[in-house]
């Protein structure tokens, strides 16, 4: 296991906010740092356990891949799906410019 359980700081919160595509005000960074730190402090009981040899569980059921019969069935109605989108052009989702791409 890793020993990377030093207290979370404001730079960590800025970093994860960026990864999660969230923009935080300075006052929010201070508040969230304190709140997230208290959750991680509580999690120290888990982080510090010696669990060598215990297999991780990702899912409660022992499932293997589930495949259905390869039969054609109806799909969602394209226009109805597109109606829920904030912006659409030519039957496609429309997004703003993607940075770095040639125009």
């Amino acid at each position: 296991m890793s020993d990377n359980t030093r207290p979370l700081n404001e730079d960590d919160v800025r970093h994860v906010a960026k990864l999660a595509r969230l923009q935080l005000k300075d006052e929010e960074i201070i508040r969230f740092t304190e709140q997230l730190r208290s959750v991680l402090d509580h999690a120290a009981d888990v982080a510090s356990l010696d669990l060598e040899g215990i297999a991780p569980t990702a899912h409660p059921l022992e499932l293997s891949n589930v495949l259905r019969a390869d039969e054609v069935t109806a799909s969602s109605d394209r226009d109805e799906v597109l109606r829920a989108a904030p912006s659409v052009a030519d039957h496609r989702f429309r997004v703003p410019r993607i940075v770095g791409e040639a125009p």
């Binding site: 296991m1 890793s2 020993d3 990377n4 359980t5 979370l8 960590d12 919160v13 970093h15 994860v16 906010a17 990864l19 999660a20 595509r21 969230l22 923009q23 935080l24 969230f32 709140q35 997230l36 208290s38 959750v39 991680l40 509580h42 999690a43 120290a44 009981d45 888990v46 982080a47 356990l49 669990l51 215990i54 297999a55 991780p56 569980t57 990702a58 899912h59 409660p60 059921l61 499932l63 891949n65 589930v66 259905r68 969602s76 109605d77 109805e80 799906v81 829920a84 989108a85 904030p86 912006s87 989702f93 997004v95 703003p96 410019r97 993607i98 940075v99």
Partner: protein, 472 residues
């Protein structure tokens, strides 16, 4: 009258579905201003559907076992063409292009969906105070929370607005509000009820389940929604347990473990009530065995790493492209960020960041990896316990309902209110909460029964005994 009786009388033409819909709408009109159980009421639609049921009955058709029974649907269950917002600004006004499988099942059974219920945003919370549309109040005392995250669904049943409702339970979000509001709430075995069309929070933990005013009504609804679904790859391909026909089978010879870890840390009035519940089961012929499962104490920490980790991944889909609101900006990344910053509330942001952190390079092993191993420890500990007892008994919540505003500023203290319900979700097992008396503050107490996978029949038998013994 049970909901199955109501369905039978509607099918016999003795009661009209329109009258039942109107009765429910009138109760909502008189209570909703104070309670705020709903985010959307489908007044015209429900009257139209009720009329169709009455017309079908007049033509001699069978309109389903729950024909004409009103039901309130948690706002994270997709309903074709009806607003499904998860009580979040980011999905405000979204109308799904399909029905959740549970919605198809209940409509086939003749249930009347009366509206969508309030919840903590994306089911993240224990008080329904995290709704973007304002909190729900506890019908027993409107200064108290109804619990969460399915607080609106619990309150709708407790305030007699609807006899049935559906919620979802990721760490206790059905059982905890059921306990706080004095109704029956069931978290079924993982995979027993389809998750298709349940907006994902933590996919390895989420499960849809019923709220009802009685054990029999909860059983009837669970029988309708349970069963294999090819649209959910985690759906169990096993026959659903028969419940209604076994409700009166009793607990004679059943071994029930009174679980220390589901009592210690609970308020004295809570502990006293659960010990009385053990007596009721004992008097009915069950063998009560005191049992300790120390691993359960690790559940809270493991859960608040695993659930946020899964949530941070699941909620990446809210990017302002395919559905929901968009806040425009000059390029895609800025648009994603502006949309998510404006669209998510504080608790959702906290959990996304916590999960992102727990999964990030350098911390994955220490947090998420360790939590997954603890999950194994908890599953093994339950398995060992169930080799000596059939079911476990404990409190659903450490205290009765707390005051609105009490914990909302301190996430860790809010999370502690899930301490008795979380281990079940980590194991994928079933559990239910059944009302059992009141605390010193006269607020409802819930007794929690837990069992191994697919033990629903035994759980309902024991719950039925507790229901009848609650006032003895």
């Amino acid at each position: 009258m049970s909901v199955l009786d109501t369905g039978a009388r509607v099918n016999a033409g003795e009661v009209s579905a329109v009258a039942l819909a109107n009765e429910s709408l009138q109760q909502i009109d008189s209570q909703e201003g104070e309670i705020h159980a709903f985010v959307e009421i489908q007044r015209e639609q429900v009257l139209r559907k009720a009329q169709a049921i009455d017309d079908g009955v007049a033509q001699g058709k069978n309109m389903g076992v729950l024909a004409g029974v009103p039901l309130a649907l948690k706002d994270n269950l997709c309903q074709h063409g009806e607003v499904t917002s998860c009580a979040s600004n980011i999905l405000s006004g979204w109308r799904p292009p399909y029905d959740a499988t549970v919605v198809s099942h209940i409509e086939t059974a003749g249930v009347l969906i009366i509206g969508k219920t309030n919840m903590d945003e994306f089911a993240m919370g224990s008080s329904t105070e995290n709704s973007a549309f304002g909190p729900t109040k506890n019908p027993h005392d409107t200064t108290k929370v109804p619990g969460g995250s399915s607080g609106g669904s619990a309150a709708a049943v407790a305030a007699s607005m609807t006899p049935l409702s559906l919620g979802s339970d990721t760490g206790g979000s059905i059982r905890q509000p059921a306990a706080f509001c004095g109704v029956v709430g069931v978290k079924p075995t993982y995979g027993l009820v389809s998750r298709y069309g349940l907006v994902a929070f933590a996919s390895s933990l989420d499960q849809v389940g019923p709220f009802a005013g009685s054990v029999a009504d909860a059983a009837a609804l669970l029988e309708v929604i349970a069963g294999h679904d090819p649209k959910d790859s985690t759906s169990l391909n096993a026959p659903a347990p028969a419940l209604s026909s076994h409700l009166d089978d009793g607990v004679k010879g059943m071994r029930v473990g009174l679980c220390n870890e589901l009592l210690e840390g609970c308020a004295p009035d809570m502990v006293a009530a659960i010990k009385r519940a053990a007596e009721v089961l004992s008097n009915a012929g069950a063998e009560i065995i005191e049992i300790s499962i120390p691993e359960l104490k690790l559940g809270l920490s493991a859960y608040y790493l695993i659930a946020p980790a899964e949530a941070s991944s699941n909620l990446a889909r809210y990017d302002g492209v395919r559905y929901g609101v968009r806040v425009d900006a000059e390029d895609v990344t800025a648009m994603n960020t502006a949309t998510r910053t404006a669209g998510f509330g504080d608790e959702v942001k906290r959990r996304i960041m916590l999960g992102t952190y727990a999964l990030s390079a350098g911390y994955y092993d220490a947090y998420y990896g360790q939590a997954q191993r603890v999950r194994t420890l908890i599953i093994n500990a339950f398995t060992k316990a169930y080799s000596s007892v059939d079911l476990l008994l404990g409190a659903t919540t450490p205290t009765t309902a707390f005051a609105i505003g009490d914990k909302v500023g301190d996430p860790m203290s809010m999370y502690q209110s899930d301490i008795c319900t979380i281990p079940t979700n980590l194991a994928g097992h079933p559990a239910l909460s059944v009302p059992f008396g009141v605390g010193d503050d006269k607020m409802p107490i819930g007794a929690q029964l837990l069992g191994p996978a697919l033990s629903e029949q035994q759980l309902f038998q024991a719950a039925s005994v507790l229901e009848h013994g609650a006032n003895s």
